[in-house]
């Protein structure tokens, strides 16, 4: 108990005892060396954003590890190709490190194109390629000319920044892909959905809502996306951004280059889902769309509230801890817990921005602990001190929560069901309830 907190970490923690002002809050910076950080790297950031593009070849140019660890890990679903669920790499060996790996990469691309009908290849350069200096841009350019397909380099050495830097690289790669398909005279229509990765089919749920209220969806980034669907994106009238941390940069680029306006949305929780749908309807501005959106959300909201009312007695008064990747998701979860009668007592993110943390402070109570880029020791300490009953997090946090005797819900790659939209409210509430009220806890507490 009471594990000490590193001096360097104190600025990234807000508690009742040592609050630093929101202005001085330490986030968006490199992790402290020696910390058991839960955070990943630049390559990881780029890969998770691009990986759901279903008919792309994702080639990792580097030694094998980075390809192994990212082989089909996201749980993003596809309605078409399953190419993206394979792992392609150059598996660089010692002699490639010494003599350079560019030739091997060119050959790997040849081996793909000669065997398969490739239209889109992403080449990810990992750490050592950044050091040995392979000119992967040249290799990709040559391959594009040779085969008349798109071969897009993603220079993502792990050391070159944080995971957020990787998101940005992914956005730039997507801009490279879609930029040539922008035509000025085209009449705008429909929306692009950015920052949803179709985990457990969530993109399909959201698309279905838009279908119901009469808003065409032009393209999705990147959940269930394909080459053909992505290049339609410049025709859209509006971009909506769900996972802002990863995709707001893409929206900004599209606004600047194609004149497509954007705003942030969230489809987690009743309130956020309802507000997001209404906001999109109003932005589209057609009266029949607004009318349908109002009707649809009113019905769904009523159903969801009726559902939540049944569960609230089982959940009210419980205390939640949140540790997720991005700030926007954390904010949605705080609201969603509030809808369930659960108070958020610890909240942290891997990559939240200063703005995110400001919002989090306003949404939570004074004694709520706020953490950036935390580690298991801090999580343990603050979850104990704040008497959290449930943790929402990702794969590395799950076993930690269970060991602490705390319930858990995966809101990351390993979510067991769709957690987005009104359907997600039902699934999320049921999962929280099952985990909090599992019969097995009494054997642990009795021990």
């Amino acid at each position: 108990m009471g594990t000490a907190v590193l001096e360097e970490r104190k600025q990234s923690i807000i508690t009742r005892d040592f609050a630093c002002s929101g202005e001085g809050f330490g986030c968006e910076r490199a992790s402290v060396a020696g910390s058991v950080s839960q955070r990943a790297c630049v390559y990881c950031g780029a890969r998770v954003v691009l990986n759901p593009i279903t008919d792309a070849f994702h080639i990792v140019h580097g030694p094998i590890g980075c390809a192994s660890y990212t082989w089909d890990i996201r749980g993003s679903l596809s309605s078409g190709s399953d190419l993206y669920r394979n792992s392609f790499s150059t598996d660089l060996r010692e002699k490639d490190i010494i003599f350079g790996g560019a030739e091997k990469l060119a050959r790997a691309i040849d081996e793909i194109v000669q065997e398969k009908d490739a239209r889109l290849i992403f080449v990810y350069a990992t750490c050592i390629v950044g050091v040995i200096g392979d000119d992967i841009e040249a290799v990709c350019r040559d391959a594009e000319e040779k085969y008349h397909i798109r071969v897009i380099p993603v220079k993502a050495p792990g050391f070159s920044g944080t995971k957020s830097q990787g998101y940005k690289l992914a956005c730039e790669a997507m801009m490279q892909l879609i930029r040539p398909h922008y035509k000025e005279q085209e009449k705008p229509q429909g929306v692009n959905i950015l920052g949803d990765f179709n985990l457990a089919g969530e993109m399909w749920i959201i698309k279905n809502y838009f279908h119901k209220i009469g808003v065409p969806v032009v393209s999705t980034f990147t959940g269930d996306a394909s080459y053909d669907s992505l290049i339609r994106a410049p025709q859209a009238a509006l971009n909506i951004v769900q996972c802002a941390g990863s995709s707001v940069y893409l929206a900004k680029c599209m606004e600047e280059e194609f004149g497509i306006p954007y705003f942030k949305v969230s489809f987690f929780g009743v309130e956020d889902t309802t507000n997001s749908l209404l906001r999109v309807a109003h932005a589209i501005g057609r009266p029949e769309v607004i009318c349908r959106a109002e009707q649809f959300t009113a019905v769904e909201k009523m159903k969801a509230e009726h559902f939540l009312a049944q569960y609230r007695p089982h959940l009210a008064g419980r205390r939640a801890a949140i540790y997720v990747g991005g700030g926007f998701k954390a904010i949605s979860l705080i609201r969603q817990f509030a809808e369930m009668g659960i108070r958020t007592v610890v909240v942290g993110t891997q990559t939240g921005s200063k703005d995110d943390y400001e919002v989090i402070r306003h949404l939570t109570e004074d004694d709520t602990v706020i953490l950036d880029d935390t580690n298991p020791a801090e999580l343990e300490r603050f979850m104990r001190e704040m008497r959290a009953d449930i943790l929402v997090g990702g794969v590395k946090e799950r076993p930690l929560a269970y060991k602490l005797g705390i319930a858990f819900c995966d809101h990351n790659h390993e979510r067991k069901h769709a957690l987005g939209g009104y359907e997600g409210v039902v699934n999320f509430t049921q999962e929280i309830n099952l985990s909090l009220n599992s019969p097995v806890w009494k054997y642990l507490r009795g021990a």
Binding site: S31, V32, V36, P63, G65, N86, S87, E111
Partner: protein
């Protein structure tokens, strides 16, 4: 699923598709978790550490701790010395382990960080230890990394001694905690005083106590690793994984070793027990003889269900060789055995097993990937697959039952608690293999062929 796999096999020289291995550092991290109160430390970018911890957590369903040097652009230009120094100080201040086990990554290796001199120049608190291993992922697989980390511990800690103890060192290789427990149980039954190194039982299969222990009770202690230099002999179980560290110990401390196959199946378990028996002069106990007899009995009971069935086995070299030996003892045909780790020894030992049991048309492939395995199966199918979770796409595409064994298993539970080694482990394997085949027969049977008694 996997519609894109063509039947025609073309030689690939540059492209790796669907690997059957991963990188050295995750093996090093796993080995270090088998040392009591040890903090594994990844000297590289922070993504490496995050991936390794995630990968291990997905397999073991347990927390897997490790720290990272969190390389930035600066560190990759000027070297990671100061990152390591800061990290070591922070780790001892905050997490208070007995020992830090540093492993390198492809990044720190490529920029040429000299870990020996870094560690020498760091102030290490009294009574604490920092060791390291070089684990460049471009040079070997996670299996090599596991062995390299063992060698790292030995190089730093094992103490040469003229007087030998009556202890036997058991190197279990890259296996589950459930296997390590079983190997220890067998050794105890043989009344052997042993040091198991490394030992992740009690660490990655620790019970739920309602509180989090950063350092659970299990693991080889630093004192035990020091004592490796004085043991009577080393049993290196799994030749590919454990021979290199056993040779390091031999060179440093003059301790001899016997390399044995992983004790999977009848003969390999016999060999393990006979070797223990010879070393400590005890008889194999009645209870172990009974277990062996039970295993032989169940093979006979069920053999008509698996005899002559063909099987593809893939994964890490020593586990695949062990499984191959056992399926041959069961009368099955291991048509393809494959590992992603580069190891000519693997292919040689595989061929020797085929010859010994007189089976023909079988292939033993090393340094290969699961795309190749899929193509082989497309050209000439098998009745069963045994291996890691990553084979499930092939199993689905070709509609072949899959028995999960080895590392990693990401989509099933409890496996890491249960052994594959020893007679009990073999009995469990037999049950899994037989059930997979019989479930399949039930599923495929027409109503008129559907049987109650099988």
């Amino acid at each position: 699923m996997l519609e894109a796999t063509p039947k025609e096999i073309k030689t690939r020289k540059a492209l790796r598709v669907n690997p059957c291995k991963t990188c050295e550092p995750v093996g090093a991290l796993y080995a270090a978790l088998g040392v009591h109160r040890c903090m594994p430390h990844s000297h590289g970018s922070q993504g490496c550490c995050s991936y390794h911890r995630t990968f291990l957590s997905r397999h073991f369903k347990e927390p897997a701790i490790a720290t990272t040097s969190s390389f930035t652009e600066g560190a990759s230009v000027f070297g990671g010395g100061s990152n390591l120094k800061t990290a070591v100080k922070n780790i001892f201040d905050i997490y208070n382990p007995d020992i830090i086990a540093v492993h390198t990554t492809c990044l720190s290796e490529t920029i040429g960080d000299d870990l020996n001199s870094y560690i020498e120049s760091i102030d290490i608190p009294e009574g604490k230890v920092v060791v390291h291993a070089n684990t460049p992922s471009y040079a070997g697989s996670h299996i090599v990394g596991f062995g390299n980390m063992m060698s790292g511990f030995i190089k730093y800690l094992a103490e040469k001694s003229q007087a030998k103890t009556d202890q036997i060192a058991i190197f279990p290789g890259f296996v589950n905690p459930g296997d390590m427990r079983e190997l220890k149980r067998l050794a105890k039954q043989m009344q052997v005083h042993y040091i198991m190194f490394p030992d992740t039982s009690g660490v990655l299969d620790a019970p739920n106590k309602g509180h989090y222990e950063m350092y659970p009770q299990g693991g080889t202690t630093v004192a035990e690793i020091r004592g490796l230099g004085a043991v009577k002999r080393v049993l290196a179980l799994g030749e590919v994984t454990c021979t290199p560290p056993a040779m390091v110990l031999q060179a440093k401390c003059g301790v001899n070793f016997t390399a044995l196959p992983l004790p999977i199946g009848i003969e390999a378990t016999d060999q393990y027990l006979m070797e223990l028996s010879r070393l400590v002069n005890t008889e194999v106990s009645d209870s172990l003889t009974e277990e062996r007899g039970q295993l032989v009995d169940v093979i006979l009971d069920a053999q008509q269900n698996f005899a002559k069935k063909t099987v593809a086995i893939y994964g890490d070299p020593d586990i695949v060789l062990g499984l191959t030996a056992f399926v041959l003892e069961m009368g099955m045909i291991p048509k393809y055995i494959l590992t992603g780790t580069k190891s000519d020894l693997f292919s040689k030992r595989g061929e020797a097993l085929f010859a010994k049991f007189g089976v023909s048309g079988c292939q033993a492939l090393n340094n290969e990937d699961l795309f190749t395995l899929h193509q082989l199966i497309k050209n000439d199918g098998v009745d069963l697959m045994i291996g890691t979770t990553h084979g499930k796409y092939i199993a689905r595409a070709e509609d072949i039952p899959l028995v999960r064994a080895g590392f990693p298993v990401l989509d099933r539970y409890v496996h890491s608690y249960m052994p594959l080694v020893g007679y009990r482990g073999a009995m469990r394997l037999l049950e899994m293999i037989c059930n997979a085949l019989l479930d399949r027969r039930d599923r495929d049977a027409a109503d008129e062929d559907f049987e109650l008694v099988m």
